[in-house]
């Protein structure tokens, strides 16, 4: 009975959504809006060839700050929800009791790990030139650490390093923002205060590249932190007296 009601409601919702979206046919020319300006200004003024990067980091850079905050928040909230007790003796990773993975997996992981990290770094360093950027690069780096974490059960991520990377990358982002506030022409938060350079050079786009590198470090560190928290979940003993 409940299923029937839900399905009926969903079909009504689907019908209305479909009738709304029919008015903008797939692939047809769209209403003129901010996008035309972005497509024009991004290569001309900002000297960033990847327009999506230009929008994410410069035109809508504030969203990106918020987005990085969301990830930071997720990793903090995860820590507070799952209550990781700190193991002070760092060798005592609870996962060491788990089954050791095969030599093949371990060797493969060892070979792949540097390549994955390199790919991730490449993706976020070239964020303003090619597809990709801080989020993608950071996520790729996190997958590299994930590979190591699941193939070497004794691998222990030093949380001090993670904390430092996370905090410094986040601070760099905000400080670049405040730098724009102080040094840039119009004194706006996040405004570019470095020379733009020439289009399609690695060093171009002013602060865009630097911000995306900071984002890459931060996203990589945060997702690695989330994965590590979840992987060491067994450690979390719930003490009912803890109120």
């Amino acid at each position: 009975m409940k299923k029937l009601i839900v399905i009926t409601l969903l079909l009504i919702l689907g019908f209305y959504l479909m009738s709304t979206f029919i008015s903008v046919p797939f692939g047809a020319e769209r209403i003129a809006g901010v996008k035309d300006y972005y497509l024009k200004q991004s290569p001309e003024t900002l000297k960033v060839s990847n327009v999506v990067t230009a929008i994410v980091v410069s035109f809508r850079g504030f969203d990106t700050l918020g987005e990085v905050t969301v990830l930071f928040l997720a990793s903090t909230a995860l820590g507070s929800i799952l209550y990781r007790r700190r193991t002070h003796h760092s060798g005592l990773n609870p996962q060491r009791e788990a089954v050791v993975s095969s030599t093949l997996v371990r060797t493969g992981a060892k070979v792949l790990f540097p390549m994955i990290i390199l790919l991730g770094a490449y993706v976020f360093v070239h964020g303003h030139l090619t597809p990709g950027g801080g989020f993608q690069g950071g996520a790729i780096i996190a997958t590299g650490f994930l590979l190591i974490l699941i193939s070497y059960r004794k691998f222990f991520i030093n949380h001090n390093v993670l904390t430092w990377v996370e905090a410094l990358a986040g601070t760099t982002f905000v400080l670049i923002g405040i730098g724009g506030f102080i040094f840039a022409n119009q004194n706006n938060f996040l405004e570019n205060f470095l020379p733009e350079g020439t289009l399609n050079n690695l060093i171009s786009g002013g602060v865009v590249g630097i911000i995306y590198i900071a984002v890459g470090f931060k996203v990589g560190a945060e997702i690695t932190g989330i994965l590590d928290t979840l992987l060491t979940i067994k450690e979390a003993g719930l003490n009912p007296d803890e109120n």
């Binding site: 959504l17 119009q186 706006n188 938060f189 003490n239 109120n243």
Partner: protein
């Protein structure tokens, strides 16, 4: 002056939240002190900015140097400034209260303050931003920090409440995202002022769909009727100061977003009827549910929902008097509910179930806290010497001006219900014999300071309402005059 800039309301808490783990490595007590400095500074600049803001003017902050509609912009006008002022002040007071926040250890107080700071930053972001997608990002920031804070205590059923909250929140924020997408396809822009201009050419049916999606998206934080299932659970399971800041900041940010969308972007006649019906339903259902509650925190949560319903009714009147009353109510509700939650936190500190019946005779056992709670109860039902009276009076006159006599009668009836359940508690506090064995927990000095400041504010505003009526009236003007908002944000665009 460079120091006073609305951008700091968001940049500063984010910076501190990112740095807090490092600060903790330098010197542990700084974890608790730094948020206080930041909140105090934010409260200072919000006073500075608000008092220097000319009436009817707005301060537009461009981010990254792109003038609106291209980049994201913050709009600091009389209305958003007033709400920011409330939020920053409450944030500081809540920090004072929770400075010695139980003995949870430094690692946990670090997480607590990070989540708390981002909740404040997110709420202020929702209030200040002038960009519809940025609004969504800030809504998500407030939402995720609230999930974390709700589940903060391990001993309670916080995880259950948080999951419920997360479920409703994730669904409604997805629908909000869908609404934003439809808006973008129809108007080609994300700036709220420009959307308001371009929406005239959009078919009414499409507008209605977008509006319903937005209603669902903001309704959850504004505690609107079908979406407020999380409220009593989250308020009763979260730590005391968190419940206080949900009432004072989260709900305020939600209702702000809703009315900003309704008044500034859309131009549909049916909206106000819908908001009115939702407000009445929310108020009636919540207040009658509050009457039945045995747990004091749940009762306060239902009462908070009822108040939000009343605020919605006042906003739905679509007159200046109605908006004025609604903003006054928001001010009072933020202050008084915070005070009630903070004092209730200490009254029921040692009891396990936080039952109302456990409070018998506490008027003698904990005179100060009980007095604060009593003051709050008197103020929230709208008795004369307190500030709640003036806001309730202005709501009633605004409704009467519109000649909605049925609604007037309903509000009066619901007020009686409110009086019944609040006075029941006061009766228990002062006129019942105490239980044999009571464990009490004396509020620490900083908590006493926090509660006293709130109490003094309420009494002062109650005796001299003229102190703030001018600001509220300016805020109401800022919301009501849509074309002024558009002109401030987009000075080069001519309307029509």
């Amino acid at each position: 002056m460079v120091i006073s800039n609305p951008i700091y309301f968001i940049a500063l808490p984010l910076l501190t939240a990112f740095l807090l783990p490092l600060i903790g490595k330098v010197y542990k007590p700084l974890i608790r002190l730094t948020p206080g400095f930041v909140f105090a500074f934010m409260a200072y600049i919000s006073f500075d900015l608000f008092l220097n803001l000319e009436q009817g003017k707005a301060q537009i902050i461009q981010i990254a140097g792109w003038a609106p509609p291209l980049g994201i912009n913050l709009v600091y006008d009389n209305f958003s400034g007033f709400i920011t002022l409330i939020i920053t002040t409450l944030a500081f007071i809540v920090w004072v209260y929770s400075y010695k926040f139980k003995k949870v250890g430094f690692d946990n107080s670090k997480k607590f303050f990070i989540l708390m700071m981002l909740l404040v930053a997110g709420s202020i972001g929702v209030v200040l931003t002038g960009d519809i997608f940025n609004l969504f990002v800030f809504i998500e920031i407030t939402a995720i920090s609230s999930y974390g804070l709700t589940a903060f205590y391990k001993g309670r059923d916080g995880a259950e409440a948080a999951f419920k909250f997360l479920f409703i929140g994730a669904l409604s924020s997805t629908l909000l995202l869908l609404g934003i997408l439809i808006l973008y396809t129809q108007t080609g822009t994300l700036n709220m002022a420009e959307i308001a201009i371009r929406l005239k050419d959009v078919p009414i049916a499409t507008q209605a769909i977008i509006l319903i999606l937005f209603f669902v998206g903001f309704g959850i934080e504004a505690e609107m009727f079908p979406l407020n299932g999380w409220v009593p659970d989250a308020y009763s399971q979260a730590p005391g100061p968190v419940a206080a800041s949900f009432a004072g900041m989260l709900a305020k940010a939600g209702i702000y977003g809703l009315v900003r969308i309704i008044y500034t972007i859309f131009d549909l006649n049916g909206i106000f009827g819908l908001l009115l019906i939702m407000g009445i339903l929310t108020m009636i259902i919540a207040e009658t549910a509050a009457l039945k509650q045995k747990n004091i925190r749940r009762m306060l949560a239902y009462s908070s929902m009822g108040q939000m319903g009343l605020i919605m009714i006042a906003f739905a009147l679509n007159t200046k008097a109605g908006i004025y009353a609604a903003i006054f109510l928001m001010f009072n509700h933020a202050l008084i509910k915070t005070m009630l939650f903070l004092s209730a936190g200490f009254l029921t500190y040692s009891t396990k179930d936080k039952k109302i019946s456990d409070l018998d005779g506490f008027g003698k056992i904990m005179p100060f806290t009980a007095l604060i709670f009593g003051l709050g109860a008197f103020a929230i039902v709208g008795l004369p010497p307190f500030s709640g009276f003036w806001s309730k009076l202005s709501v009633l006159t605004a409704v009467a001006d519109k000649t909605y006599y049925v609604i007037l009668a309903t509000i009066l009836l619901i007020s009686v219900v409110e009086i019944v359940y609040y006075f029941r508690i006061i009766g228990r506090l002062y006129f019942k014999k105490a239980h044999e064995e009571v464990k009490i927990h004396k509020p620490s000095w900083n908590a006493q300071v926090a509660m006293s400041v709130l109490a003094i504010l309420i009494i002062v505003v109650g005796i001299y309402p003229d102190l703030i009526t001018e600001y509220i009236s300016n805020a109401a003007d800022a919301l009501f005059d849509k074309s002024a908002y558009i002109k401030e944000v987009l000075p080069n665009v001519s309307l029509n």
